[in-house]
């Protein structure tokens, strides 16, 4: 793997994502946890940009950082008496840590055959083999770390939009998702509102 702007950016975003995530779970101050959550989500959004999914990256910033993380901050401010908590981790934290580390090790071991890039081809068939042939990579863009315009055309926003409203696409899941969101909206209001009486 040669060092290009892309790899440097990848490691920066990976550190942001993982470091932010780690601070979310170990930070003693819940308010800081929420801010680190935003950092982590922003790192993930950067990873999406590197993966040439600009639509998802923007939605990540809009939905996760602009809405969900703000909602979390709001909940923290509403329950701010709970912030002076001395013990933020419960008694089973060593066991939890062991489980998490074990999970990570198992996942990494399971994934280790993929270190060899050729193995990816063997496992997932010929789809990968012609991947690089299909991808129009702009030589200038590669050096500068900026995604070339052609590169963005793998799956365009238009295609996503069409897929969400065509019958052989995802129109049914899309409608179900809208119902889910409406139900969640109404449910959240009903659950959280104060009794009038």
């Amino acid at each position: 793997m040669e060092i290009t702007w892309q790899t440097i950016a990848f490691f920066a975003f990976a550190v942001m994502t993982l470091g932010g995530g780690l601070m979310v779970v170990i930070s003693r101050n819940l308010w800081h946890s929420a801010l680190f959550l935003m950092l982590s989500l922003f790192g993930t959004s950067g990873l999406f940009v590197l993966l040439v999914a600009p639509f998802l990256a923007a939605v990540q910033v809009l939905v996760y950082i602009g809405a969900i993380a703000i909602l979390v901050l709001f909940a923290i401010m509403l329950t701010r008496r709970m912030m002076g908590l001395e013990e933020t981790q419960n008694t089973q934290w060593p066991a939890a840590a062991a489980v998490a580390v074990l999970l990570f090790i198992i996942l990494v071991i399971t994934l280790s055959p993929l270190v060899d890039e050729k193995a990816v081809t063997d496992i997932f068939g010929d789809k990968v083999a012609n991947l690089n042939a299909h991808l129009p990579v702009d030589p200038d863009a590669k050096g500068s770390g900026v995604v070339a315009n052609d590169d963005l055309k793998i799956v365009t926003v238009e295609k996503i939009g069409e897929a969400l409203v065509t019958r052989d696409g995802f129109v049914l899941p899309f409608e179900l998702a809208s119902i889910l969101l409406t139900a969640a909206l109404i449910g959240a209001i009903v659950v959280a509102r104060e009794d009038e009486a």
Binding site: Q6, L47, I68, V115, V155, I160, A163, A184, G187
Partner: protein, 102 residues
Amino acid sequence: MVPLYFYLVVSAGLFAIGAYGALARRNAIAIVMSVELMLNAANINLVAFWRYLNPFEINGQIFAAFVFIVAAAEAAVGLALIISIYRNRQTVIVEDVNMLKW
């Protein structure tokens, strides 16, 4: 290009961190945040596999988009529940909310 393996390791790490947080934190809001981290790990996985294995089909991106929707719904309802519990019991510590356990 960065190999697929690296993305998967980042995703696995994020998932493990989220799992630890969900198991070990006492504050319910912190647990919601940890669950968000785990959903994010899943999303990184989905998008990475889409990009490296099947970049001309949209399924991967659509899946990730649906994860966003579910995450938004989950956060809204979850935080509403937490605020409701806080209002009734003056606590958001999950161990103190044991009304069903006698």
